[in-house]
């Protein structure tokens, strides 16, 4: 187990390094970080000054070393507009995104996994077709479309749910008394964005659960359990479920990361003050360091989360847990 964790750790570090290098390379090679300002018609002298401020006139390798150096020190850049380090703003907004992401994750699991299991258990019947259709629809409707439809129906026409913002609760790092209540308040604000975000992934979850379950149900050991005369409910609830949930959970965890994607647009539509909206703000304000900084921090979060999931997986699967 220990070796497994160490290996995963090493692998994560390599991935992280590659990631930041790729970001560096792509930004420098495919375009011009100053372009955003340039588009709005800033004059050449101004652009030159920014270029100098950001160190873009230095030779590439120098830029790279200072880039990596900054990152190692935890400096992810300074927002041009807000004159604050990106890291600070990001961390301030992070709990909001997490709240949204977790709610969406729960929704996608609650919708997707049971339906996926039902599909697998009643494979090729009417239930299965319903399940497969729902999955297909989920994967085909873009999250922001679902969000807009929800706003139209529940927000504007019916007026049941508040449309914008996250409500008044806030997670303030410096104020521990806000740490716990934050997660439990203002659910009415959370309902629509979380559903819009989770909708796509419930489709993915349904499929993954279904095919994982089908694999397990066709296996030899399930056959043997049935041959032992174990009651069918136990075969499914005890053996089939546990064996199919492990790959489902790992993939679910990875999906959580992809959710970060769609979250950007959802946050913009619902005016949810998370890190996705931060990215959008950066775009609107032509604030390139903000954009790059948010991307870097997101990358860090993802690698970290991947690592945590790998470790958790190691605990659940006895084949890894009991190895050295």
């Amino acid at each position: 187990m220990r070796k497994y964790i160490l290996l995963r750790c090493f692998y994560s570090i390599i991935t992280l390094w590659l990631l930041v290098t790729i970001i560096f390379a792509m930004v420098r090679l495919t375009g011009d970080p100053v372009k955003m300002k340039g588009d709005v018609g800033a004059d050449k002298a101004y652009l030159e000054r920014i270029r100098h401020d950001w160190g873009l006139d230095q030779p590439l390798y120098r830029q790279y070393t200072s880039y990596i150096g900054n990152l190692l020190l935890g400096d992810f850049g300074h927002s041009f507009e807000k004159s604050l380090p990106v890291r600070t703003i990001y961390l301030e907004r992070l709990p909001n995104s997490l709240k949204l992401g977790l709610a969406a994750f729960v929704i996608s699991m609650v919708l997707g996994v049971p339906l996926g299991m039902l599909s697998a258990l009643r494979v090729n019947t009417w239930w299965d077709n319903v399940g497969k259709t729902i999955a297909l629809l989920g994967l085909s409707m873009p999250g922001f479309f679902v969000g807009l439809v929800l706003i139209i129906v529940f927000g504007v026409q019916l007026g049941w749910l508040p449309v914008l913002g996250k409500g008044t609760s806030a997670f303030i790092w410096s104020n521990p008394s806000t740490w716990v209540p934050f997660w439990f308040k203002d659910w009415s604000h959370l309902a629509m964005p979380a559903f819009a975000l989770g909708w796509y992934f419930s489709g993915a979850m349904l499929r993954i659960t279904r095919s994982g379950m089908l694999d397990v149900l066709g296996s030899d050991y399930i056959k043997l359990v049935r041959l032992k005369g174990v009651p069918e409910q136990v075969v499914i609830a005890k053996h089939a479920l546990k064996n199919s949930l492990i790959p489902v959970l790992t993939l679910a965890g990875l999906n959580l990361l992809v959710m970060v994607n769609v979250a950007v647009v959802i946050e913009v539509i619902f005016n949810w003050p998370g890190v996705g909206q931060l990215l959008y703000d950066g775009l609107s304000n032509r604030d390139f360091p903000m954009v790059q900084g948010v991307v870097l921090m997101s990358g860090l979060m993802i690698v970290l989360l991947n690592f945590v999931i790998d470790v958790l997986y190691g605990f659940v699967d006895p084949r890894i847990r009991l190895s050295r």
Partner: protein, 326 residues
């Protein structure tokens, strides 16, 4: 007194492509099994041996159906039972050992958990009584230090050990019949003999009846009292082991015996020419006739009936019938 198990004219077909293609995996099998007897079921891959076993315990894949016939366990027909009723038969009356020890055990549950399951559900054992029984079972299959092994997981055991554990699982419910579907095929040759001896000892101790499915005639010679040879879904010959080996009546049986390589001679290896038939597209008449050296005209047009050949044996062959008639 009725035999312990009596399979009468069992027919199980697989329906593929929405019924357009029917594979007659088991096409009229009849045999019976007495308590304590070891019955061998021999044949090439794909001849229907496994389907027969699954049909007996009524655990077929969705595309297969028992089309007709009876499977009588001490007089009671199993084919007409519901799945819920069969759950009480499986594991409790009839247990099964599968071929691949690596795939047979659930990787996420401990050995104790898996061996205890049949005893838990069929014998309603709990707590320390259950523990005791599991320990007994593991000891009976000669697993060293069963106490420690119980807590471990399948991936920590070798193939031979796992197959022995599967044997313990089979015994756990106290069954009257154990169906072993090619249990030694995936084991190392050196382990095979140990395992077979183990099965024989277990049988002697609990007088359980054994249906042993294999394609290896050597194992049949060692283990079985009675043996049936299957070809293309039918039993083509059934005799006591001595009878089969010394007086085979069906050309297929003779060919199988001839194809066993003999030590000490440099004779060329003998193989049966041709391929086993497609079970969805069987030849007319006797299914074996395209590969049979002694086929006569009647073999090509008429399917042979099961012919009794004395001492309770049967054979499906026109030549054998002719012999009897003389």
């Amino acid at each position: 007194m009725p035999p312990l198990l009596h399979v009468k004219d069992l027919k199980t077909h697989y329906f593929g492509f929405q019924g357009a293609r029917v594979v007659k995996a088991v096409d009229g099998i009849t045999f019976s099994l007495e308590a304590g007897e070891t019955f061998g079921l021999v044949g090439e891959s794909g001849c229907g041996k496994t389907t027969t076993c699954l049909s007996i315990v009524h655990l077929l894949p969705p595309s297969a159906r028992i089309v007709s016939g009876r499977v009588e366990l001490a007089g009671e027909d199993l084919v007409s039972k519901s799945q819920r009723e069969m759950q009480m038969v499986r594991g409790r009356q009839i247990a099964t050992i599968l071929q691949d020890p690596m795939a047979s055990l659930d990787p996420l549950f401990s050995i104790y958990n898996q061996v205890a399951e049949p005893a838990y559900y069929h014998l309603a054992l709990r707590g320390s009584k259950l523990r005791h029984r599991v320990k007994e079972l593991l000891a009976a299959v000669r697993i060293p230090s069963p106490e420690a092994r119980m807590k471990e997981f399948p991936h920590q055991m070798s193939g031979g050990m796992r197959q022995r554990i599967v044997g313990a699982v089979a015994q756990a419910g106290g069954p009257r019949i154990i169906i072993a579907d090619e249990p030694t095929t995936n084991l190392d040759v050196t382990i095979q003999l140990q395992y077979l001896n183990l099965l024989k000892d277990l049988q002697r101790a609990s007088s359980v009846a054994l249906i042993f499915v294999t394609h290896n005639l050597g194992i049949v010679a060692k283990m079985c009292d009675k043996v049936a040879v299957m070809y293309a879904g039918k039993i083509v010959e059934m005799q006591s082991v001595r009878g089969l080996f010394y007086h085979p009546k069906h050309p297929y049986t003779r060919a199988l015996l001839d194809s066993i390589p003999k030590l000490g001679t440099k004779e060329p290896l003998f193989g049966i020419p041709g391929q086993p038939p497609d079970l969805a597209d069987l030849p007319t008449g006797c299914s074996f006739h395209p590969r049979c050296q002694h086929a006569i005209d009647r073999c090509r047009s008429q399917e042979p009936r099961e012919q009794s050949i004395g001492n309770g044996g049967t054979a499906r062959c026109w030549l054998a019938s002719q012999e009897i008639a003389r």
